[in-house]
């Protein structure tokens, strides 16, 4: 046996546990879900077959399609806002905070991760409520005379998401920034670039892999999240995961829930394809 052949076998051997794990817990369940998505309900019975009706309904029934549109709109909004807020935060930690305090600063940034996701969402509900901290403060200083309708709105959902994902993005962007040699900026400025031009043409492109990686993870986690829109959105509009839960938990319509889940995976796949050029998942 040649050395190359032996190494190849060793490589497959080392890969095997991961491949088996992925096959057992992703590929097989996904194929089962895919098959289920082409079944349909007759009364409470699941009838197998190749019926594209669930997919047709997902894209032609307005209340179903609206859920997909809502999910994409909310996710894009959250991702953009989170990136805009996380980049300067990561830059401050990487460049302005003394090295010995950077770990502490990162710890402070991710501290909210330590609380339960559900508890955090309900806490935001109290903060954003009619008699919550924000409305009381604004009314106290005379900015508003009537409380703002913040809770149980899309705004509340976005705020809850952004609070969570800014922390995540800060970590991925910080990991990128900290590896960036200050010589790039110095070289650009030596060559006459302004601070703004240095940022736009040198620093920002170099941090793009970290930004895109964080943004992709934000997109994936946000579009699949059920808890935050359910608690903070007040069911004033449905997102795709909420619709999937309704189909499973209330209607017992597993084929429709499966079809919607496949659609959700399709959206994530499109997002991956769009980002793949810059994705550096090893930065996570």
């Amino acid at each position: 046996m040649s050395i190359a052949s032996a190494e190849r076998k060793l490589g497959w051997g080392l890969l095997a546990p991961a491949l088996l794990w992925t096959a057992a817990f992703f590929v097989v369940p996904f194929l089962a879900m895919l098959a289920l998505s082409f079944a349909h309900m007759e009364g409470r019975a699941i009838v197998s077959g190749f019926d594209p009706g669930n997919y047709i309904r997902a894209f032609t029934d307005w209340s179903q399609l609206k859920a997909l549109i809502n999910s994409v709109e909310i996710t894009v909004t959250v991702t953009v806002i989170s990136v805009v807020l996380a980049w300067p935060l990561a830059a401050i930690i990487a460049w302005q905070v003394p090295a010995r305090f950077q770990r502490l600063a990162l710890l402070m940034a991710v501290l909210p991760f330590w609380t339960s996701y559900v508890v955090r969402s309900y806490s935001w509900l109290l903060v954003l409520g009619k008699n919550g901290v924000i409305n009381k403060a604004l009314m106290g200083i005379g900015v508003i005379s009537e409380p703002l309708a913040l809770a149980s709105t899309r705004t509340a959902t976005v705020i809850g998401f952004v609070h969570f994902f800014v922390m995540l993005l800060t970590l991925t962007i910080y990991a990128n920034l900290i590896q960036l040699s200050p010589n790039y900026a110095r070289a650009a400025q030596d060559l006459g670039a302004s601070r703004w031009a240095t940022f736009v043409h040198v620093i920002l492109p170099l941090t793009l892999p970290g930004v895109i990686t964080g943004a992709f993870v934000t997109f994936v986690l946000c579009i699949g999240d059920y808890i935050t829109p359910q608690i903070l959105g007040g069911n004033t509009e449905l997102t795709l995961p909420q619709l999937i839960m309704l189909q499973m938990g209330r209607s017992g319509n597993f084929p429709m829930a499966s079809a919607l889940s496949v659609v959700l995976m399709g959206v994530v796949t499109v997002a991956y394809a769009a980002c793949s050029r810059w994705l550096r998942l090893d930065r996570l």
């Binding site: 809502n70 509900l125 608690i231 069911n235």
Partner: protein, 347 residues
């Protein structure tokens, strides 16, 4: 692909515990209160494995995707017992071993709990889906008429309980349609009132979010609420109240049954007997998830005067007379109701 294979994924979602000393129960959240379950566990030296579910369709779907013997007891809307029996999901109970003679007469519900003279379930708890409100924020007189909800006076101050059956049942009463007459023909008549109610509302939310919104003043009214919503808040929020409007209210009632194919029939029966005993009933009535009237009147001896006041114990004859049972839609009507509800959520 065979149907069994198709449901393999769903099976993974609903696999109960299998230990011999375990009773597997499909329940609503009120049964998860340790003060209710622990005394039974200690007395019988067993573990009660509880799985919460929402709505009969979901409960029956779980049973469809399980093996006989996976589940031992099940909580179910009393009005859906026939549906479950027809699907072969419930086992017969020995009627002579159930204390129904001690029940409020209207809550024995023999028409619902028996099929062909055989008893398949026993009522355990009941209450009302009506209108809950903060009496310091709204005019209590307005709450006596459902029309006030969509008059414009309370726009943005209304929360809707996120369960289509009681809320659409209430809207039917508002249209003068009896809940028993709600079917595919009468359902479209609710569309306008459902749309109007949604426009006037701030949110559509589950039990906890509805309670939070009412308690924090985010909404002043919850349509579909009742004692089950406000009772747990009464101690800290004495301003919260509920009423049955002149159009009437919906009476919810839940039954408990033995699941067909259980391998622990004796233990399941003992659990059911415990739940409908005065002790079990008193604990279930004051569950930390939601309160409700016990079906067994003897539980009254174990409830404090304050608890009975919150539950409106003394007004029950009047309330029972003014309320109707949940709608019992057939599968097609049920699907249409859910579609209307989903469209309303995304309105």
């Amino acid at each position: 692909m065979p149907r069994k294979s198709l449901t393999a994924l769903a099976l993974l979602l609903a696999t109960p515990a299998c230990a011999e000393d375990t009773l597997n129960a499909l329940v609503w959240c009120d049964h998860t209160d340790p003060t209710l379950i622990e005394p039974f566990e200690k007395a019988h030296n067993v573990k009660v494995n509880l799985k919460e579910f929402e709505g009969t369709a979901a409960g029956l779907a779980i049973l469809d995707q399980s093996q006989p013997g996976d589940w031992d007891v099940m909580v179910i809307d009393s009005v859906d017992v026939h549906r479950a029996v027809e699907a072969g999901k419930l086992a017969e109970l020995p009627a002579d071993k159930l204390p129904t003679a001690d029940f409020f007469p209207a809550l024995v519900m023999a028409t619902n709990n028996t099929v062909d003279g055989k008893t398949y379930a026993v009522t355990e708890k009941f209450g009302y889906n009506t209108i809950s409100y903060d009496k310091t924020k709204v005019d209590p007189k307005d709450m006596e008429d459902m029309a006030a909800l969509t008059s414009g006076k309370y726009d943005g101050k209304i929360g809707i309980y996120d369960y289509y059956l009681p809320v659409m049942g209430l809207l039917a009463l508002g249209q003068g349609i009896k809940t028993a007459d709600l079917n595919a023909d009468t359902l479209p008549k609710l569309q306008d009132s459902l749309t109007a109610l949604r426009k006037a509302s701030k949110q559509v939310s589950d039990v906890v979010s509805s309670q939070t919104a009412l308690a924090t003043g985010d909404v002043d009214i919850v349509v579909g609420g009742g004692e089950w919503l406000t009772a747990v808040l009464a101690k800290d929020n004495p301003n919260l109240d509920w009423t049955i409007p002149k159009q009437g209210g919906l009476r919810w009632s839940q039954s408990i049954a033995e699941v067909a194919g259980t391998k622990k029939a004796d233990l399941a029966l003992e659990f059911i007997q415990y739940i409908v005993s005065p002790e079990g009933q008193a604990a279930l009535a004051q569950s930390s998830c939601y309160w409700g009237m016990p079906a067994n009147q003897k539980a009254g001896d174990l409830l404090s005067p304050e608890a009975k006041a919150v539950l409106r114990w003394d007004q029950q004859p009047d309330y029972i007379a003014r309320s109707q049972l949940y709608p019992i839609p057939d599968a097609a009507t049920d699907a249409k109701m859910q579609d209307m509800w989903t469209a309303m959520l995304n309105q």
